[in-house]
């Protein structure tokens, strides 16, 4: 009965909360990066996501947060850019949402 969890992370990747988030993101889960969390999906920090991505965990970034911060051409591969409607769909498709902040 273990649910699939949608994790969200909205802080800069220098935050130690990122490490907690990644530790508890399971293989059936997904991760949405929003607000300052989108910096995580750039060259400087992307290595932190390698393990998840290699395990097939989908990683998403919110488009307006990426654009605001000038990161549109700086994202690592293997992350998917979504709008808020996609975020809502993900919440519906996973059974529980864990917000990390």
């Amino acid at each position: 009965m273990a649910a699939k969890i949608l994790h969200t992370f909205n802080k800069s990747p220098i935050s130690p909360v990122l490490d907690s988030c990644l530790r508890f993101t399971g293989e059936d889960d997904a991760l949405v990066l929003l607000e300052d969390g989108v910096y995580t999906a750039t060259a400087a920090w992307g290595v932190k996501l390698d393990e998840l991505i290699d395990a097939g965990v989908p990683v998403y970034v919110i488009k307006i947060d990426v654009d605001a911060r000038g990161l549109a051409n700086r994202l690592i591969e293997d992350v998917q850019v979504i709008e808020y409607d996609g975020f809502v769909d993900l919440c519906a498709n996973y059974e529980v949402v864990k917000s990390w902040f």
Binding site: N10, Y84, V88, C91, A92, F101
Partner: protein, 130 residues
């Protein structure tokens, strides 16, 4: 599907409340419903009707109000959080002998029971934290 949205962030200082508003709009546009939006911690400051932002910034209080009116969404402000932060309706202002309330309708003060009720009756709870 019914969504409960939990807002911890104050207006402007952090992005959380602004993200929650984007999310709430997307829920209403997606065919899903918003069961309730619950303002906790510094999120209660979103209910402050005295907010007067510069003209080149969005008025987030007004935007919450518009969302609530257009989509009949409940905006609930936690009373324990709001009293200690000085966000009061007229009833509480009278009770505490303050000059006037500052909560704008349709924001409503209520108790933490509304958070638990939302957790029980919504299909998903999504938190926008700081």
């Amino acid at each position: 599907m019914k969504f409960a949205i939990l807002v911890y962030g104050p207006p402007y200082t952090y992005q959380a409340a602004h993200s929650a508003l984007h999310f709430a709009r997307a829920v209403t546009e997606s065919g899903h419903q918003i069961y309730r939006i619950f303002f906790y911690h510094d999120g209660v400051y979103n209910a402050n009707a005295l907010i007067a932002p510069p003209q080149d910034e969005t008025d987030i209080h007004a935007q919450w109000t518009t969302l609530a009116q257009e989509h009949d969404v409940e905006l609930i402000v936690c009373i324990a959080s709001s009293l200690r932060r000085g966000i009061l309706d007229e009833t509480e202002a009278d009770r505490y002998e303050k000059s006037a309330g500052n909560i704008g309708k349709p924001f409503e003060i209520s108790g933490l029971g509304q958070l638990i009720d939302a957790s029980i009756n919504a299909d998903r709870v999504v938190t926008f934290g700081v």
